[in-house]
């Protein structure tokens, strides 16, 4: 199988934010106005018009940010329309817009529905106003509830919510309140992330200054374990390390990433991947727009994975999923059984009770799920055996 037949998707980066969250190190920009949004979306459409289209079926479009819901929905509709002019977007394609509570109205949501958006990923993060304020979120708890209610009323039936645990000063009880509160909104999908302190963020500075403190590792681990159990009990099954869904509502777009399926990318700093080649655009929003307007390629840099590197990434990314790595799919893609290729390292991991190998698939054990990085580190430079092709 190759880019000619694999399903593929499109990532569209909308970098605009009203304010920057303390933990965020994404490519975002604040303080830009509507005319910038218009100009940026024109650049997206122009970049799209020059993209080389993979041969397989298109399965998803994902508007990520930044805050895609900050720009006028008509602008996002323009992008979707431009996509449709060059490729067939099947009716069951997943079209997601990341949405911040407090940035949408009934009318705006209606326009998104109209344009074909069928999934909203709403950044709830916490259900205590004190934490939302501390993180510099632009909304309160009530806005989360309002946004979900409006989305339902607008006809969205696939809603995902994000939350973060291990926040400065967060207690287990607060986290339980967050999870319960989000479950009560009956989402189809939940993403629960352990807080990552990235260098250069205000969060990092606050911690370095000693102004705030993170919970103990054991407490954070307890939060993760408690939530996993609670969501499973509530019918949201873990299908990836940080992601839970009612069966059938797993994110198609995310699966592209974990299975190294092709994805194109539009916008400042956006990353694309096709057949071992990964490339990304310049990060600066103005620079990106200028380059596209001047008919220049906005690619900043790229890497080409060797066949071996691609196989290794396929394994450690694939194992993040509960379904693990399907041996037939791997063989169809790379021509060999992964168990034969990586026999030694896989056997060692199995002996440590971190993964299981069945005739169909390689999957992490419960313990492997907790320490997936141990498995990933073992695989990240594993040498495949020499096999006759």
């Amino acid at each position: 199988m190759s880019a000619l037949t694999l399903p593929w998707g499109l990532y569209v980066h909308i970098p605009f934010c009203q304010a920057r969250c303390t933990y965020c190190d994404f490519n975002t920009i604040t303080g830009m106005g509507e005319s910038d949004h218009v100009r940026y979306v024109e650049a997206l459409v122009r970049e799209w018009s020059r993209e080389e289209i993979p041969g397989g079926p298109m399965v998803s479009i994902f508007f990520g940010g930044g805050t895609p819901s900050l720009v006028h929905p008509q602008l996002l509709a323009q992008v979707i329309q431009a996509v449709g002019e060059r490729v067939y977007v099947p009716p069951d394609a997943e079209i997601t817009v990341e949405t911040n509570p407090g940035t949408v109205t009934d009318a705006k949501l209606g326009i998104l529905r109209e344009a074909g958006v069928n999934r909203l990923s709403i950044g709830a993060q916490a259900r205590q106003n004190s934490h939302l304020v501390a993180l510099n979120r632009i909304h309160d708890v009530a806005a989360i509830d309002d946004t979900v209610r409006m989305a339902r009323e607008a006809g969205f039936t696939n809603i995902s919510l994000d939350a973060i645990y291990g926040l400065p000063g967060q207690t287990l009880a607060e986290w339980q309140e967050t999870v319960e509160g989000l479950l009560a909104l009956r989402p189809q999908h939940l993403s629960l992330y352990a807080l990552i302190v990235e260098p250069g963020t205000p969060l990092k500075q606050q911690l370095d200054r000693g102004a705030i403190r993170l919970p103990h590792d054991d407490v954070t681990a307890e939060m993760a374990d408690w939530a996993a159990q609670r969501l499973t009990d509530g019918g949201l099954m873990p299908y990836e390390i940080s992601n839970y869904a009612i069966p059938g509502y797993e994110s198609r777009h995310n699966r592209l990433y974990w299975q190294l399926e092709p994805y194109l990318a539009l916008g400042a700093g956006a990353h694309a991947y096709v057949e071992g080649r990964r490339w990304w655009n310049v990060r600066g929003v103005r620079r990106y727009m200028e380059m596209v307007e001047q008919e220049r390629d906005p690619t900043d840099s790229e890497e080409q994975l060797s066949r071996e590197e691609e196989m290794r990434e396929y394994l450690w990314l694939g194992l993040r999923q509960r379904r693990g790595v399907d041996r037939d799919e791997f063989r169809a893609r790379f021509g060999h059984d992964p168990v034969l290729l990586f026999q030694a390292v896989l056997a060692a991991l199995r002996d440590q009770d971190l993964l299981t190998v069945s005739p169909a698939a390689i999957q992490l054990t419960r313990r492997g799920w907790d320490v997936a990085n141990v498995v990933a580190r073992a695989l990240v430079d594993a040498e495949p055996a020499e096999l006759p092709s």
Binding site: Y11, Y193, A194, L195, I196, D217, D218, T220, A221, A224, I241, S242, N254, L256, Y257, W258, Y263, A265, G269, A270, H271, A272, Y273, R278, W280, E303, E313, W316, L317, R320, Q352, W369, D370, V371, A372, N373, V374, A376, R377, V380, D381
Partner: protein, 598 residues
Amino acid sequence: MDQQHIRNFSIIAHIDHGKSTLADRLIESTGTLTSREMAPQVLDSMELERERGITIKAQAVRLFYEHLGETYELNLIDTPGHVDFTYEVSRALQACEGALLVVDAAQGVEAQTLANLYMALDHDLSIVPVINKIDLPSADPERVMEELMEIGVDGTDAALVSAKQGIGIEKVLAEVVEKVPPPSGDPASPLRALIFDSRFDSYKGVLVYIRVTDGEIKIGDRIRFMATAKEFEVTEMGVFGPHPLPVDRLATGEVGFFAAQIKTVQDTRVGDTVTNADRPAKEPLPGYRPAQPMVYSGLYPVDSQDYGRLREALEKLQLNDAALTFEPETSAALGFGFRAGFLGLLHMEVIQERLEREYDLTLITTAPNVVYEVQLVTGETLRVDNPALLPPAGDLAVIEEPVVEANIITPSDYIGAVMELAQERRGTYMNLSYLDNVRAMLTYRLPLGEIMYDFFDQLKSRSRGYASLDYQLDGMQAADLVRMDILLNGEVVDALSTIVHKDRAYQKGRALAEKLRDLIPRQLFEVPIQAAIGARVIARETVKAMRKDVLAKCYGGDITRKRKLLEKQKEGKRRMKSVGNVEIPQEAFMAILRVDEQ
């Protein structure tokens, strides 16, 4: 230069009292170097010396100075500024007739001032007192003069100097000529020259720094080193001005260097006497003793592939450092490495740093230990330089450890605190005297092993930075010592064994186990840490199993970055040593040094 116009002198001072800056000024003001050529602290030529602001090896510079219409040759012999190199200091002083005793105008007399002064007086040197840093707002030269009187130096005519601002330099030079006697050797006697330093030059072989005491030495002479009995032909001679200048002879009283196709400094021991092989002197100059390492530590390459490179690097360093010793050693925990012997902790740190910096090696160093003399019940005696090799308690009759006599100068307010510290470290009180009405000198006998680690830091912190320390070795002393082993996951980690005093074993064991618990990262499984004496476990801690080790987020834009993160983590793990299945970070092997930290 005729003998009457030669002056050989050193500068002695407590650390930071401005010795190197004064040397720079003397060189500059005699026109030996133009100020354009002056880099700060010309004599500290090793990069490390400049960075650390200490002098590791001695050097000599010839200055010409005109005084009352006559030209004098002044040889400034620099001395190392650290207690590790006391023997080197004593050899440099033996090459002189006088010494500038530099005292900081604000700090006053300190422990090293005193130690150096006594050493200079032992060598019958004329003392020229210099009070430096008189430009400081807190300078109090009058108080310092009184302190000098108290320690037996006539401080009333001390030169008042600011080396930094170039004040009083002329007076210092004049005093050198007037107060330091000319060399007194006999030009007609057979050659006797004292080696006070040597260093390896990759083109010329070893450069031997000498002071000619009797007779003379010329190019082409066949010379003999009296202690090592090695003979060589002198191929080149020179003096430092401070750039090397060739000469064809060095006469009685003069200072310079020669080269003679010598391959290693092991042949040219500091303190040895050079004589003429064809007309040898009957007696060597007094005071030579071979360098004796006092502190040992295991050096292991993190990457076992680097073992050969480590050996080569040690061999190269040894070319220039007769005090460095090393023997191959195998550790169950760390693999193949070397047990290296050093003069002291600073010497050890300098060597370790040079290995890592100049030879690009990544090393695991075990905690340093002193050398023990052990008598077995069978009557046999052993020198033990690796705690893991101490025989079982049942086989031991007596263990002796090296002790030092330490002089501590402290404001009298902190006498109690300093005494408490010395008692904690098994010190034996010897004496207490007062320098003036606010400062006192305490003398203690202390085990070297007890002051090696953080004694100096503790001394500083308990005296708010005011106390100063100097010590000299004072023989061996029997003590009730035992070996304490550390077990990780039930296995003894030989590189973590230490020798401790029986009365303090429990406390040390508990502290070390706790420290290791904090230093050893969580592993996939629970890791018990035990401290044991023989079969008896005296402390136990546990590193709990790792609960979570996952990347929370891993999406399209992140994969390359996350992969690099994983690769970096893996590289970090590679730098750890694995004992059994336990990954141990480098710092853990030095944990014992830090157990006394609060």
